[in-house]
């Protein structure tokens, strides 16, 4: 099997090539089959490998295959090679599994779009790039996938390129990601440059890991921070998150696949993949945690004040990605990956459900014009409910386990009550805005126009079946990571142990528990304290989450006039949050305008007046002098050339006479 791992990314590439090169005359059905089957084939290969892994000893669960040398220059060498281990197989399963479902869904969703074939070409290309990203065995091949998914994201956000907002959003996504990649590249250079100077020329993960001890803590901090800059771009964290909400201009399946389930989690995967470097840099990990936490909180506040259903989900994604970074920042890589997986299920589902709602509502996105869809779109309704329960962290659903694991890690690893508190508060807000969306979409009176109302209908099977599959996963997906506290064995952590090792837990200090003991007025022995603290925090988080749902219910079901009153009372605050704290405007003012100003200065003033002015001035000066001397000003090039050559001969003659 090890020799065939390259098939995982290869299948979607083949699908892309078939549809792209030969597909002009294909009927839609054939295009759809080619596209879907290519991704399903990847999933089948991934599943086969996974099953094989299950039968192997944990330490030996690694397949590596080098296909050929890629860039070789001097001592520097990098290859096209693939690596499947416990971590990448999870990513492969998620990407190709959720990817397959979304491909199938898209067949229905995009059915009447004139760009049907183009859409599936891009989507296949995306899956190919994403699988390259997660299976590449070296940093540079990961970077190929990294930029490749960025390209597909650009193409798919701007899929409806005739809309200016869409093409602007696509461009913005690409450029903001490039800013992140600037950091990523510098990280690569620093890493290669330093290891190279130590005689180790490699970018291969396994060799990097073996030589990580050569890197001192200071350098490790620099390198990991630079890589993290890349992650803030790709995974939409502060300060580079601004592209993701705009990315909602793309077709909804794209938002689901790329901007929720897979691509945006690449930054989390990257940190998890490079865990052996991050573990050397505690400062970076702290930065990652704080940025993640800040993003999670900040984006959640914005999410509470949006009316566009996809924007709510977009900010929710930014916020949830923040959680994942809190997880990996706490050194709990497995928890981060766990949340990545459950998030792929429920957020992928939420976007698809939103697509289904848009389908029913003739493309409407504004929640103020929805409501009462429960009866008419029952499957969408029930699946959305399950996803909302999962993301809100209601016990028993997948999000509960993964989110709780992260909150606990943030608390215990950093020994900080505040990290936990901000995270838990964010979870409460998440529950609130998700159910705000849920209630205003499906409950109450329908506020749509008569025309739209008339057309409301449930989506076809091809769209609802993927919803149902994802709904099942959103419910049960968490049971691979039931914590010991609840009598589980945290399978996923155990599964990932060969990749992440045991290096993380620097056992929480007793001091931390003092805060908790005072906060919750409990005490106990060291071990008992830990589990009782974990239990208390868990219960606390559950209560906060349920409170969020309750407030949403109060605002949007019980007393629908409350939100209006609230907005009136806190008008300034609402405007600020509703307008996303005016960050886009700030960036525009600070960066874009100044760049354009600089551009105009360089072009109009410096290049055309100064430099060219000097050139043209010199030319006319020479021509003038020539005119006086020769009394002929031909303006012909022969004349100029003659003068120049004559001058040269004089100079040469002088030089020769000096030498000889």
């Amino acid at each position: 099997m090890a020799d065939l791992i390259w098939l995982i990314p290869a299948f979607p590439a083949i699908g892309f090539l078939i549809n792209g090169l030969l597909g002009i005359r294909f009927p839609k059905t054939l295009t759809a089959w080619v596209a879907c089957l290519s991704v399903i084939a990847s999933f089948a290969v991934s599943a086969t490998i996974f099953i094989q892994f299950l039968q192997m000893a944990p330490e030996s669960r690694v397949f590596e295959k080098t296909v050929f040398d890629w860039i070789v220059s001097g001592d520097f060498k990098t290859t096209i090679g693939f690596r499947i281990d416990a971590l990448s197989i999870i990513m492969c399963l998620v990407v190709s599994g959720v990817g397959s479902l979304i491909h199938i869904y898209s067949v229905g969703y995009m059915h009447d779009d004139p760009g049907f074939r183009r859409f599936f070409c891009y989507l296949n290309l995306f899956v190919f790039m994403m699988l390259t990203l997660v299976t590449g065995d070296n940093v540079l091949l990961m970077f190929v996938g990294w930029e490749g998914v960025g390209l597909c994201s650009y193409l798919l956000i701007g899929f409806w390129y005739e809309k200016d907002s869409a093409s602007n959003a696509g461009k913005k996504a690409f450029i903001v990601n490039r800013i992140g990649d600037f950091g990523f590249l510098l990280g690569v250079f620093t890493l290669v440059g330093y290891l190279g100077s130590q005689g180790v020329w490699t970018l291969k993960f396994s060799e990097l890991q073996a030589n990580a001890h050569l890197i001192g803590p200071g350098l490790a901090t620099v390198i990991t921070l630079l890589f993290f800059v890349g992650a803030t771009g790709k995974s939409a964290q502060i300060p580079l998150y601004v592209w993701l909400p705009d990315a909602m201009e793309g077709p909804t399946p794209v938002s689901s696949l790329i901007h929720a389930a897979t691509m945006v989690t690449a930054g989390v995967y990257m940190i998890a993949r490079l865990n052996f470097l991050y573990v050397l840099a505690p400062t970076t990990l702290l930065v990652v945690t704080i940025v993640g936490l800040a993003t999670a909180f900040f984006a959640a506040t914005i999410g509470t004040a949006q009316y566009d259903i996809k924007r709510v989900l977009a900010y929710s994604t930014v916020s949830q990605l923040g959680y994942m970074f809190v997880g990996v920042g706490a050194g709990a890589y497995a928890a981060g990956i766990f949340h990545l997986m459950t998030h792929a299920f429920f957020k992928g589902l939420l976007f698809l459900a939103a697509g289904s709602v848009m389908h029913a509502m003739s493309g409407e996105l504004d929640m103020r014009k929805m409501g009462g869809l429960r009866k008419k779109t029952p499957i969408t309704y029930w699946t959305t409910l399950l996803a909302c329960l999962a993301i809100a962290g209601v016990p028993g659903f997948s999000g509960f386990f993964s989110k709780d694991e992260i909150l606990w890690m943030a608390f215990s690893r950093y020994n900080s009550f505040w990290f936990w508190a901000v995270g838990a508060l964010t979870a409460g807000m998440t529950a609130f805005y998700m159910f705000r969306m849920f209630f205003s979409t499906f409950h109450g009176e329908c506020r749509a126009d008569e025309e739209v109302k008339h057309h409301i209908h449930e989506s076809p099977k091809v769209m609802t079946v993927p919803l149902m599959v994802l709904a099942v996963l959103s419910v049960i997906g968490g049971y691979v990571g039931v914590p010991h506290l609840l009598g589980g064995s945290n399978q996923i952590e155990k599964w990932l142990e060969p990749v992440f090792g045991h290096h993380a837990p620097a056992a929480a200090h007793a001091g931390g528990f003092n805060i908790i003991s005072t906060a919750f007025a409990s005490s106990g022995g060291a071990a008992g304290a830990e589990s009782s603290a974990e239990m208390q925090l868990m219960i606390g988080a559950i209560i906060i989450g349920l409170l969020g749902i309750f407030i949403a219910w109060l605002f949007y079901v019980k007393n629908p006039n409350l939100p209006k009153k609230f907005v009136e009372k806190f008008h300034g605050l609402f405007t600020l949050v509703h307008n996303k704290y005016f960050v886009d405007e700030l960036y525009d003012f600070l960066f874009i305008r100044n760049l354009l100003r600089l551009g105009r200065f360089c072009k109009d003033f410096f290049d055309e007046m100064i430099i060219d002015g000097i050139v043209n001035g010199m030319a006319s000066l020479l021509a003038g002098i020539g005119g006086i001397i020769r009394r002929v000003q031909t303006g012909m090039v022969q004349g100029y050339a003659f003068a120049v050559i004559l001058g040269a001969i004089v100079v040469i003659g002088y030089l020769i006479s000096r030498i000889l």
């Binding site: 001097g74 490039r178 050139v615 100029y640 001058g647 030498i659």
Partner: protein, 528 residues
């Protein structure tokens, strides 16, 4: 050493003069018979291409020094020889030239309707001059070909160019002429200096590499060579001829100008300016690197603001060639190899962009970005090619551009972190100006009626662009094929520069006989 010949003529001589033969034969074709003229030019350039391909396979990857060498006396009394040879660096550039010439003939097929005969004669003549410049290892021979390149290019711009062609042509001519005259002075100075030192009159470059020149003198000589080459590259701030020349030149002129002629500048640094005066070159690293970095950033920023597609691409060339220069002056394997690779990449991707602009210009007779918008809708095939070439230009991994840019930046970063970091910002700016341009041309709704009826690409155009895309992908995915050819040559070049630099410094410290002995010892070691 591998040798082979075509029709009994040694290969390099054949490659140089075969296009000239074509040009001469075209003289006898009636000027009304344009089809025969075009077909003739195509056949000659194609045959030239096929004749050059075996070079690639017969070239030994491991042999040191020049290959396919031809050496004959020309003016033996003055030490002028007919001395040809290529190493892995010039090999790749020769192939780029023969490839792009075919592309240029094909893309002129319909665009040139006026003075067709003269046009193709000029083009074939230009090919002779370009290949000659790349193969010449005698300074006089090199200089002759170097100057010969000017004439056809001047004519291409001045006769078949746009409305402001005379200004652009004269500017191009004077700029390059001014530089090359200084180079001529330096060549002659070097010639007499070497005679004084060794008692031999020679223009043989391999021989002149051995000259031991005091560092202070190297400065002046290097400056003269470097100015001439820097104008050709063009480096900031002597770049302003380029946008004018590109804007006014016909499509094929722009393609060959960007694809090959600019590379003569960077090639000149590697072959002549640096190895002849290594100590001066190494002392010039800060200056050259700073100018290169300014070129990268400045070119990108100015490019962003251009309203004219061709000017935009011209300034992007300033930026891209800045990368090449930065790589060359990193003086390490990654930087130099990346620089050379980027020379090829730029020929493919910027050449491709000029082709793209030419194709749309033929349909709309305008190059102003504001005249377009929404073209994707009416020209979907064109859109695909345009996108791929754009991505190559912004160095997306998987395309050729990435390999070159990555190695250059890695090399630059290793050599000097500050230059490396500053140059890496070009990665962002490149995406800004290219994607913004692409958006304004291709996306949005069609606002101009003239754009509604545009025809998508025809077979000939698709063929041309497929060739470009083929190399974009091949060079991006399997660069090893090309790196293998230049590995030995670049390593040899670097060690030559290093040794000769060390030797010049030593000479500076120890005066008199001891130094001379040491020098000679090193010389004999290195010429092997």
């Amino acid at each position: 050493m591998t040798e082979f010949s075509v029709f009994g003529i040694p290969i390099l001589t054949f490659l140089i003069f075969f296009p000239l033969l074509g040009a001469v034969l075209l003289l006898f074709v009636k000027r009304e018979n344009t089809l025969l003229i075009k077909a003739g030019a195509l056949i000659f350039s194609l045959f030239e291409l096929f004749a050059s391909v075996p070079l690639f396979y017969k070239f030994s990857n491991t042999a040191k020094g020049m290959q396919f060498v031809e050496k004959a006396d020309w003016f033996p009394d003055w030490g002028i020889g007919y001395y040809l040879g290529i190493d892995g660096i010039s090999l790749l550039l020769v192939l780029l030239t023969t490839f792009l010439t075919v592309i240029c003939v094909l893309c002129s097929w319909k665009a040139i309707e006026d003075k067709v005969k003269e046009y193709y004669i000029t083009f074939l003549f230009l090919e002779t001059a370009m290949i000659g410049t790349l193969c010449a290892l005698d300074l006089v021979l090199f200089y002759i070909f170097w100057e010969l390149m000017l004439i056809p290019m001047y004519l291409l711009i001045g006769i078949w160019g746009g409305p402001n062609r005379i200004y652009a042509a004269i500017k191009f001519f004077l700029f390059t002429m001014a530089g090359s005259v200084l180079m001529l002075v330096a060549i002659l100075y070097l010639y007499f200096y070497y005679y004084n030192q060794s008692g031999i009159y020679t223009f043989n470059v391999m021989e002149l590499y051995k000259a031991s020149i005091p560092i202070a003198k190297q400065y002046w000589l290097f400056a003269a060579f470097a100015l001439s080459f820097a104008i050709k590259v063009p480096m900031f701030p002597v770049h302003t001829w380029l946008p004018d020349a590109h804007t006014e030149a016909p499509t094929a002129g722009s393609v060959i100008l960007a694809g090959v002629l600019l590379k003569m500048g960077t090639y000149g640094f590697i072959r002549f300016a640096i190895p002849l005066f290594p100590a001066a070159a190494i002392d010039a690293v800060p200056l050259m690197s700073i100018l290169a970095v300014i070129g990268i950033i400045y070119g990108a920023i100015v490019s962003m603001m251009q309203p004219d597609l061709k000017r935009l691409i011209a300034f992007s060339s300033v930026s891209h060639l800045g990368y090449v220069m930065l790589g060359i002056f990193a003086f390490n394997m990654q930087g130099v190899q990346g620089g050379i690779y980027q020379m090829l990449n730029h020929g493919i991707s910027t050449g491709g962009l000029f082709l793209i602009v030419g194709m749309i210009y033929e349909r709309r007779h305008t190059r102003m970005i504001s005249d377009f918008g929404g073209i994707s809708k009416v020209m979907p095939i064109f859109a695909v090619f345009f996108m791929i070439i754009t991505l190559s230009s912004i160095a997306l991994p998987g395309t050729n551009g990435f390999v070159g840019e990555f190695l250059i930046l890695l090399g630059a970063f290793k050599a000097n972190t500050v230059y490396g970091v500053l140059a890496t910002t070009g990665v962002i700016l490149g995406a800004v100006y290219m994607l913004w341009m692409f958006q304004r041309v291709m996306f949005g709704v069609i606002t101009k009626d003239a754009n509604r009826e545009l025809k998508d690409l025809e077979g000939r155009e698709i063929t041309i662009l497929c060739c470009m895309v083929f190399f974009i992908i091949l060079m991006g995915v399997y660069p090893k094929m090309f790196f293998n050819k230049m590995d030995t040559s670049v390593a040899e070049y670097l060690s030559l520069v290093k040794n000769r630099n060390a030797q010049a410094r030593m000479l500076e410290q120890n005066t008199g006989a001891t130094a001379k002995v040491a020098t000679e010892a090193t010389n004999t070691n290195m010429t092997r």
